[in-house]
C-alpha cells in the first residue's frame, strides 16, 4: 500500500470519530440546555439572554435540525456565547490557549529529556540495583496523582524553600512555569522511562544490529541509521500517549497552580454553570486529542513502512 493511500485511508477513518464527537458534545449540550431557564440558572437570566439562547440553539426545532444548525455554526468557528462573560466562547478559549500550550510544551520537554535519560541509564545497567531503583521511581511517577504531586512540589520548593512562586502566571516569567511543568510532566516521565528502557533492550538484541556491524559499518552508522530508526517507533508512541496524559493532567495542574489555561477555564466554567464554555472547552480538548493522535499515526506511516499495511486492519 502506498503512503498516500494509507494517509487517505487513515483520514477517512477519522471522519466517523469526528462526527461522533460532535454528536456527543451536541447531545450533552442538548441535555444540559434542555430547559434554557434552568441552563441559565444562577446567571443574570434576563429575557434577552433567554431569547438569544433560544435563537442560538434553535431550541424550538426538532433535534436533527438543532444539530445541523449547531454544526453549521461550529464549522464557522462559532461556539456560542459565554453566559458569564457575555462574549463569544471562541474568544474566551483562544485567550487561554497560549498558557496551556506553553505548559504542555514545557512538560513534554521535561518528560522526554528526563524519561529518556532515566530509561537509557536503566537499560545500560539492566538488572542492577540502579535499574530497579530507577524503574521503581518510574512506577512511582506513574502512580502519583498529579494534583497531589503539584501540592507537594509547591510545599517544598515554594512554601518551605521559597525558591519558586507558589502559583500564578507571573506575566509569563519562567520561574512560574517550572513547578507546573514538572508536575504535569511527571506522570509521562515514568512512561517514557519504561518505554525507552524496554525498547533499547529490544533493539540492541536484534539480528539486524549484528548484521550491520558484521557488514563492517561504523558504529555511528549502526547506531544512528539502524538503531535510531527502529527506536523511533516507540518514541512516537510515547508522544501519542503523552498527549493523553497532558490533556487529562491540564485541568488538575492548572487548578493547583492557578494557571490561566483552558483546563482551569473548563473547571471554573462547570462551577459557574457556564455551559457554552464547558462544551466549547470539551470539544477543543477532544479535537486537539484526535488531531494529535492523527499526527502520531501519520508519523508512523512515514517511519515504518510495515504500518502502511496495518492501517487496513
Amino acid at each position: 500500500m502506498g503512503l498516500l493511500r494509507s494517509v487517505a485511508v487513515r483520514l477517512l477513518a477519522l471522519l466517523p470519530v469526528v462526527v461522533g464527537i460532535t454528536v456527543l458534545v451536541f447531545a450533552l449540550n442538548a441535555v444540559a440546555l434542555g430547559d434554557p431557564a434552568r441552563a441559565a440558572m444562577g446567571q443574570r437570566a434576563d429575557p434577552e439572554t433567554l431569547e438569544r439562547l433560544r435563537r442560538d440553539y434553535a431550541l424550538d426545532r426538532p433535534l436533527p435540525v438543532q444539530y445541523a444548525a449547531w454544526l453549521g455554526r461550529l464549522a464557522r468557528g462559532d461556539l456560542g456565547d459565554s453566559f458569564r462573560e457575555q462574549r463569544p466562547v471562541r474568544e474566551v478559549i483562544i485567550e487561554r490557549l497560549p498558557a496551556t500550550v506553553r505548559l504542555a510544551l514545557a512538560a513534554t520537554l521535561i518528560s522526554v529529556v528526563l524519561g529518556v535519560a532515566i530509561g537509557v541509564l536503566a537499560a545500560v545497567r539492566a538488572g542492577s540495583a540502579l535499574d530497579h531503583v530507577l524503574m521503581g521511581v518510574a512506577v512511582l511517577g506513574i502512580s502519583t496523582p498529579v494534583f497531589w504531586l503539584g501540592l507537594m512540589l509547591a510545599l517544598v520548593f515554594a512554601v518551605t524553600l521559597g525558591w519558586l512562586p507558589v502559583s500564578g502566571y507571573g506575566d509569563g516569567a519562567v520561574s512560574h512555569l517550572i513547578l507546573p511543568a514538572f508536575t504535569l510532566g511527571a506522570l509521562h516521565t515514568g512512561t517514557v522511562a519504561r518505554m525507552t528502557r524496554s525498547s533499547l533492550l529490544e533493539v540492541v538484541r536484534q539480528d539486524f544490529m549484528a548484521t550491520a556491524r558484521a557488514k563492517g559499518l561504523s558504529e555511528w552508522t549502526v547506531l544512528g541509521k539502524h538503531a535510531l530508526r527502529n527506536a523511533l517507533v516507540p518514541v512516537v508512541t510515547v508522544i501519542g500517549i503523552g498527549l493523553a496524559d497532558l490533556l487529562v493532567g491540564a485541568p488538575l495542574t492548572e487548578t493547583v497552580f492557578a494557571w490561566p489555561g483552558v483546563g482551569r477555564l473548563l473547571v471554573a466554567a462547570v462551577g459557574q454553570r457556564d455551559l457554552p464554555v464547558v462544551m466549547g472547552a470539551v470539544l477543543v480538548f477532544a479535537l486537539v486529542y484526535v488531531l494529535g493522535n492523527l499526527l502520531v499515526d501519520l508519523a508512523y506511516l512515514v517511519i515504518d513502512p510495515r504500518m502502511r499495511d496495518a492501517v487496513r486492519a
Binding site: 454528536v23 501540592l151 462547570v270
Partner: protein, 278 residues
C-alpha cells in the same frame, strides 16, 4: 524472567498485594480503627489546624477534625469507587466486547465506532463535561460518569481475545455440536479471556480511584459530608503554608493505594500473561 510463574518471588506483585491488603483492611475497618468520629469538629478535645500530636497522630484540619480518622474513612469511598465502578465496567465491557467480537460484521462495526468516539476524548475532560450536565455533583454522579466512560478498555480487550479465540478448534467444535451463542460466549470464550481481563480490571481500579480523587479535588466529585481524599486535598491546599499535614496525608494514602493497585496489575500481567509484558 525466571520468576515468571511464581507469585511470591515477584517483588512488585508481593509489594502490590501487601499495599492493597493494607488499604482494603484499613478502609473496611475504619469504624474500628479511627480514633475519632471523622465528622467531629473542634471542641471535642481537638483544636483547629493542630499539628500532629499523640492524640491526633496526623493533626487536625481547619474545622478541628481528626485527619487520621478522615483518611481512614476516606479510604472507604476510594475503595468503593475503585472496585464498585470497575465491577460495573467489567460487566458492561465484557458484554459489549463479547457481542462485538463474536458476531463481527455490522454489530462489531457499530459497537467499535461507539468505543472509538468515547476513547477520542481525554477521559477526565469528558468526565468533567458529563458532570457539568448535572445540576449538582455528587458520589452517585461520579459512579455514573466513570462507568459510562470506563467500559471501553475492557470491551477492546475482550473483543481482541474473542477474535483470536473464535477461530480456534474448541470453539468451532462447540459450534458444530450445536452450542448456542450464549453458551459459547459465556462458557468457552469468556473464561479463556480471563487473564487479560483481570489485568485490565486491576489497573482500571487504580484509574477509577485517581479519577474520583481528581474530580473531588476539582470540586466536581463527592461533596461534603462524604469524605474523599480528593476533597481533603482541596481543603488542604488552602492551608498548605500553615498546616501542610492536612494535604500531605490524604494524598500519601491515595498514592500508596494506587501504587499498590498498579504494582499488583503489573505483577498479574507478568504472572498470567507473559505475552502482554511491556
Amino acid at each position: 524472567m525466571p520468576s515468571a510463574r511464581r507469585p511470591l518471588r515477584h517483588g512488585g506483585f508481593v509489594a502490590g498485594a501487601v499495599l492493597v491488603a493494607l488499604f482494603a483492611a484499613a478502609s473496611l475497618l475504619a469504624p474500628v480503627l479511627a480514633p475519632e468520629d471523622p465528622h467531629a469538629v473542634a471542641g471535642g478535645g481537638g483544636a483547629t489546624l493542630e499539628r500532629p500530636t499523640a492524640s491526633h497522630p496526623l493533626g487536625t484540619d481547619a474545622l478541628g477534625r481528626d485527619v487520621l480518622s478522615r483518611v481512614l474513612w476516606g479510604g472507604r469511598v476510594s475503595l468503593a469507587v475503585g472496585v464498585g465502578v470497575e465491577a460495573l465496567v467489567v460487566v458492561l465491557g465484557c458484554g459489549i466486547g463479547l457481542l462485538a467480537g463474536y458476531f463481527g460484521g455490522a454489530v462489531d462495526a457499530a459497537l467499535m465506532r461507539v468505543t472509538d468516539v468515547v476513547m477520542a476524548f481525554p477521559s477526565l475532560v469528558l468526565a468533567i463535561g458529563l458532570i457539568a450536565v448535572f445540576e449538582r455533583p455528587g458520589l452517585d454522579k461520579v459512579f455514573l460518569v466513570l462507568v459510562a466512560l470506563g467500559w471501553t478498555t475492557i470491551a477492546r480487550v475482550v473483543r481482541g481475545e474473542v477474535l483470536s479465540l473464535k477461530a480456534r478448534d474448541f470453539v468451532q467444535a462447540a459450534k458444530a455440536l450445536g452450542g448456542g451463542h450464549r453458551a459459547i460466549m459465556l462458557r468457552h470464550l469468556l473464561p479463556n479471556a480471563l487473564a487479560p481481563l483481570l489485568v485490565a480490571a486491576t489497573i482500571g481500579v487504580g484509574g477509577n480511584m485517581v479519577a474520583e480523587a481528581g474530580l473531588s479535588f476539582l470540586g466536581l466529585g463527592t461533596q461534603s459530608p462524604t469524605i474523599s481524599w480528593g476533597a481533603m486535598l482541596a481543603d488542604g491546599q488552602t492551608f498548605l503554608a500553615t498546616a501542610p499535614w492536612v494535604a500531605v496525608f490524604p494524598g500519601a494514602a491515595l498514592l500508596l493505594a494506587v501504587l499498590g493497585v498498579n504494582l499488583l496489575g503489573d505483577g498479574l500481567r507478568d504472572l498470567l500473561d507473559p505475552r502482554l509484558r511491556a
